[in-house]
Structures are given as structure tokens and as C-alpha cells.
């Protein structure tokens, strides 16, 4: 597995890619659920061993690769109190499904979240329902049900820290995280 990482090509495009990878890693961080043990997309790795291979520096089939390939589409967003998968979400989930079908041994967890403007327990159930919506859609696209689990964090793990409509919209989400 380190072979792909340990083969820098020409420095110039390498550093270009490094920048892009860094930006992607940051945007991925911004829209991804902070977890107990956040997967390290590896800024350290990309800085020392940039490569131009698949996944923009991440090992193909890894969570880092998934996050990089999805370019934000590892997350889908919901309206207040809603849990339905709309057209935009369907595109994102289709992209996720494609990746998951490419790596049929990968398991994934879908993390459901709610914004802060609801009561704690209901938001836990709502997050679960949102995660389940995403899961069902992935299953409908051919991803085996036994590869997908769900977990709800309710309103406990916001990504956007403000108390305004924009922040709440970012926090009403379901994030797919593959398990390395």
C-alpha cells in the first residue's frame, strides 16, 4: 500500500497536486462529521510524498480516497425536520454508491445529524432517520445492506458552529464514512 505514496513524480506538478489535495482535505474536513477518532486524511503524508495517482494522494479504496473522490458529496443535507433524499442528494449518493461498488469489500457507516434547534432526544431519532434514508438509497443503487451501518449523533456534533440558518443548514446532514 505505501507504494503509491512513495513515488513522487516531477516536483512541479507534484506540488500543484499537493495544494489541490490540501484544499480538498480541508474542504472535506469542513463538511465532514467530526468523530471520536477522526480518520487522518493525512496532510503529513501528502506533504512528504505527493503523488499524482488516483485519489489525489490517498490510497485507492481508503477512507481518505473516498473523501477525496467525493469532493463534498460524502455528505447530503436536509431541510428542517425533513429526512427525504432530494435530487441533489441522489446525485451525491449515486457517486458514493459508485465508489462503494468499486470497492466491494469496504464497509461504511452513515452518520446522521440534526441542527441545534430541536430537543436532544428527538434529534437523536431524527439523525437516525436521516442516516437511514441515505442508507436505503444506497441499497437501492445496489450496495449490499450488510455493508452499511448507521449512527446518529443528533445535535451533538455540529460542523458549522454558528447559531444561524446557514450553520443549521450545514449541520442537518448525513455523512458517509468508509471504514479502513
Amino acid at each position: 500500500m505505501p507504494s503509491a505514496l512513495s513515488m513522487p513524480r516531477h516536483t512541479k506538478s507534484g506540488s500543484m497536486i499537493l495544494l489541490v489535495a490540501g484544499a480538498l482535505a480541508m474542504s472535506a474536513c469542513a463538511s465532514k462529521a467530526p468523530k471520536e477518532l477522526p480518520p487522518e486524511p493525512g496532510p503529513a503524508r501528502t506533504t512528504t510524498t505527493p503523488d499524482s495517482g488516483q485519489g489525489l494522494g490517498a490510497r485507492p479504496g481508503s477512507q481518505a480516497d473516498f473523501a477525496a473522490q467525493m469532493m463534498g458529496d460524502d455528505t447530503i443535507y436536509f431541510d428542517t425536520d425533513k429526512y427525504d433524499v432530494d435530487a441533489v442528494d441522489q446525485q451525491a449518493l449515486a457517486k458514493q454508491a459508485q465508489w462503494l461498488l468499486t470497492y466491494p469489500n469496504k464497509m461504511a457507516t452513515i452518520e446522521g445529524h440534526a441542527d441545534e434547534r430541536g430537543t436532544r432526544e428527538y434529534n437523536l431519532a431524527l439523525g437516525e432517520r436521516r442516516a437511514n434514508s441515505a442508507k436505503n438509497y444506497l441499497i437501492s443503487l445496489g450496495v449490499a445492506a450488510n455493508r452499511l451501518t448507521t449512527i446518529s449523533y443528533g445535535k451533538e456534533r455540529p460542523v458549522a458552529l454558528g447559531s444561524n440558518e446557514q450553520a443549521w443548514a450545514q449541520n442537518r446532514r448525513a455523512v458517509t464514512v468508509t471504514i479502513d
Partner: protein
């Protein structure tokens, strides 16, 4: 006066024996219902604040060292009086004075007050007491309430407490005074389980914690490695039900306070949440999500057995709070399209919506008196409100950006909830009386949410 001297006699004997007839469990304050004058229901507390209650430093027969954190019996006398004054003043019920700045009764005066001294200073009620160190390290604390104008003793109590429990004597005394003057049941000698919160909004650490009703004797029960939420004290204080993300799987555990160990209430791969006790402690309600749906189940608190599902969708059915007699359960459901409050029989039959106020209604909690249901009303802001068990007479108790999750004082006169600050998301625990006018923040060492008020301590 006869019982008084019996008590005085007991006091003299108590160095060699188990002190007063009344020891810790029950100060024999049985039903201070009927008697002279002061029978008022505290539905409006404003007039109570005009009642001058002097709480004096408790006297001692001998100022000797104790094993308490407060110091000698003399120092303890002051500390206990401070606990009494703190209890009575912090709930907006009375405006007590003392112990600082008041004359200090001598030991003999405790049972024979110097009424002329007090009748000149606008004092209507007088609280006096004593502390006596027993040979075995325990303490005997006496508490007396006098009506200054009538020159009469209204009630008294005495308790034997261990050194670690000295504050309880103060809470017992405050309960005695409160119950006698208000005609209500006591509530100060009780504990609160809650979630202690530290760290930034997106990585907040949440730990299970407990404290006395006044915030003292604070203690963390979990380390914070696994997120803890929504605790509930068992009616006998032996256990706490709560939600833990231990092993990355949100599940309801019963935490045993004697052994500091915990058990899953039901083993499943589905997430379980929103635990509640039945009033007799025999049943546990919990909610379980499956395929996006959430339903309420009941299982024996003894463990084992197949949980019985009480709701059958659609959507999210969650929470639940028993009526005091255990016959009904009030819960929350979004089967109508938004969170609303429903009542059902304890076996799940006859489910009926009771909240029709516009907006959303959530987290219902049945008062231990049975007369009211407290809940969170969501219409933009989140506010704590009460209504009758049939959904009538809804009124707000708070008006802030985000107040949620009410829990009742053991006597059903105070509602406790948590308030979240806009922006920072910092949470704190508050109490409000049923008029909604007297609000106070509970002192907690760090951020605090999900309060659960236990019953009067056994």
C-alpha cells in the same frame, strides 16, 4: 411544650445513646396540614417574599472538632444555617435573612427563644437549631421553627447524620420549614443527575455527573471518553439510566451507584435512547430506532425479558413519562407530521394527542403531583411550558432563546431545565417556579445539561 422537653431530655441523653427519637430517614414532619393560620397554596409566591424569616447560627452544647469538612460543631452550626438559608432564599419562595448579621442564640435559647429580641426587628418567623457531636462521630442536628408574633413553636425536627452527610441536616431543616409554612411537600433533600459539558461546540465532552439539589457534593461518574446523555435517577437513588456512546454504539445503560458498574438494559444492534423509570422503579421505558422508525418500549428494570413495544409508529415515538400512579404515559410523537405530545395507557393502549398549540411540543414530563405536564414548546425559540394532563391551560414558564428538557422537583412546585446560549452553545441548568417569575441558575463547575431531579431521598 411537653414534646419539647422530651426532646430536650433526648438531647441530654444523646451523648450516650442514639439521640432523638427521630433520626435521619424521617424527621416526623408528618402532614403539617392543619393548624394555626399559615395555610396557603404557593401558586403565587410574591407574598411569601414579605415574610421575614430569620435563620440563626445553630448553637452547640460543646464546641468540639468533627470529622466534617465544615470544622467544629460551632462552625458546623453556622454552615448548616447557611445551607438552610441558601435553600430557602434561592427558590424565590422566601426572603430569609441570616445567619450572618443576626444574633446568635445560645444553646439553651434554641428551645426557649428570646422572643422580645426578635419581635422588634421585622422578623415573622424564626429558625433556630443546634449541633451536637455524638461519641461515634455522627452528629445530631435539631431544627426549630417559631412564629415570633404568636410566640409559638410551629414545628421541629431532629436528625442524626454521618460526617459526610452534614449538609443533609440543613436540607432536612429547610424542608421542614418550607413544608410547614407553605403546606407543600418538601424537596430540598434530593439529588440531581445531569450531563457535565466541557470543550468546544464541535468537540464537546459530555460526562455523567451528580450533585445535591443545591449544587453541592458534585461528582463525575464517567470519564468523558464515551459521550453520555439524558440521565434519569431511579426512584430509590440506587441507579441512573442514561445513554452512552460506549463502543461507538448509542445504548441505554443502567449505572449502579453502589458498585460503579453499568449494564445494558437491552442487548441489541439497534440504537436505544431516552430512558425513563416507572414511579415504582419496576419498569424502564426506552426508545429504539429500527429502519428509521423509533418506538417506545418497556422492559423490566430487573433485567432480562423481552421488551414490550408500546407504540407502533409511524415515524418517531420517543421519551415518555409516567403519571404518578403509573397508569398512564405521556410521550412525544411526530406521527402527525411534527413533534406533538400524546398520552397513552401504561400498556400502550388508547393513544391520544393532547398538544394543540401550534408549533411543536416535546419532552413532556408528568409532575409528581399529577396535576401538570411540563414540556418544551418549539416555535422559533425553545421554551419551557406547562399544561394540564388533558392539554388545557398551556402557559410558558420561560422566555429565552433555547430552554428545554424540563424535570420536576420532588414536590412538583419547581421545574428544572437547561438553557443553551446562542452561538457558543454553552449550556446551564436553571430552575423556575410555577409562576415563571422566579428563575435561578444552578451553580455547576462546568457547563451542564439534561438535568434529572430525583425524589426526596429515602
Amino acid at each position: 411544650m411537653k414534646t419539647l422537653s422530651a426532646l430536650a431530655l433526648g438531647l441530654l441523653l444523646c451523648a450516650s445513646g442514639p439521640a432523638l427519637a427521630q433520626t435521619v430517614p424521617d424527621p416526623a414532619a408528618p402532614a403539617p396540614q392543619a393548624s394555626d393560620g399559615l395555610e396557603v397554596t404557593v401558586s403565587d409566591d410574591s407574598e411569601w417574599q414579605d415574610l421575614g424569616i430569620a435563620i440563626t447560627t445553630f448553637a452547640t452544647d460543646a464546641d468540639v472538632p468533627t470529622q466534617t469538612t465544615a470544622g467544629s460543631t460551632g462552625q458546623l452550626g453556622q454552615a448548616i444555617a447557611q445551607v438552610v438559608a441558601g435553600d430557602l432564599k434561592n427558590n424565590g419562595l422566601f426572603k430569609p435573612s441570616g445567619p450572618a448579621g443576626l444574633p446568635r442564640p445560645t444553646f439553651p435559647e434554641v428551645q426557649a427563644p428570646n422572643f422580645p429580641l426578635w419581635s422588634t426587628g421585622g422578623t415573622d418567623m424564626l429558625v433556630q437549631g443546634y449541633v451536637h457531636a455524638n461519641g461515634d462521630g455522627t452528629l445530631t442536628v435539631g431544627c426549630y421553627l417559631y412564629d415570633v408574633a404568636l410566640k409559638q413553636q410551629l414545628t421541629k425536627g431532629g436528625w442524626k447524620v454521618g460526617p459526610a452527610d452534614w449538609r443533609r441536616a440543613g436540607h432536612k431543616c429547610a424542608d421542614l420549614v418550607y413544608a410547614r409554612l407553605s403546606g407543600e411537600s418538601p424537596f430540598f433533600d434530593s439529588k440531581i443527575a445531569y450531563i457535565a459539558e466541557t470543550g468546544p461546540k464541535d468537540h464537546r465532552m459530555k460526562r455523567l455527573a451528580i450533585m445535591d439539589s443545591d449544587g453541592a457534593n458534585h461528582r463525575y461518574l464517567t470519564s468523558g471518553q464515551a459521550m453520555a446523555l439524558t440521565p434519569r435517577y431511579s426512584p430509590d437513588y440506587s441507579k441512573i439510566l442514561y445513554l452512552s456512546y460506549l463502543n461507538g454504539q448509542p445504548s441505554v445503560y443502567a449505572y449502579d451507584l453502589a458498585s460503579n458498574s453499568q449494564k445494558l438494559i437491552f442487548r441489541t444492534t439497534n440504537p436505544t435512547m431516552a430512558p425513563r423509570w416507572s414511579p415504582d422503579g419496576k419498569w424502564v421505558l426506552f426508545s429504539m430506532s429500527q429502519g428509521g422508525r423509533t418506538d417506545i418500549y418497556r422492559v423490566s428494570s430487573a433485567g432480562g425479558g423481552t421488551p414490550q413495544r408500546l407504540t407502533n409508529g409511524p415515524g418517531i415515538n420517543i421519551g415518555g413519562s409516567y403519571s404518578p400512579d403509573g397508569s398512564k404515559i405521556v410521550f412525544e410523537s411526530d406521527r402527525s407530521g411534527s413533534q406533538q405530545i400524546y398520552v397513552m395507557n401504561a400498556d400502550g393502549s388508547n393513544q391520544q394527542r393532547i398538544s394543540f398549540f401550534g408549533g411543536r411540543s416535546a419532552t413532556p414530563e408528568w409532575s409528581p403531583r399529577g396535576d401538570l405536564i411540563a414540556f418544551t414548546h418549539i416555535a422559533g425559540n425553545l421554551r419551557v411550558a406547562v399544561m394540564s394532563p388533558s392539554g388545557q391551560n398551556m402557559r410558558y414558564l420561560t422566555n429565552s432563546w433555547q430552554d428545554e428538557a424540563p424535570t420536576w422537583s420532588p414536590n412538583g412546585r419547581i421545574v428544572q431545565f437547561f438553557r443553551t446560549e446562542k452561538g457558543s452553545g454553552v449550556a446551564s441548568i436553571w430552575q423556575v417556579d410555577l409562576t415563571g417569575r422566579n428563575e435561578r441558575k444552578l451553580p455547576t463547575p462546568v457547563g451542564a445539561s439534561d438535568p434529572a431531579w430525583g425524589p426526596i431521598r429515602p
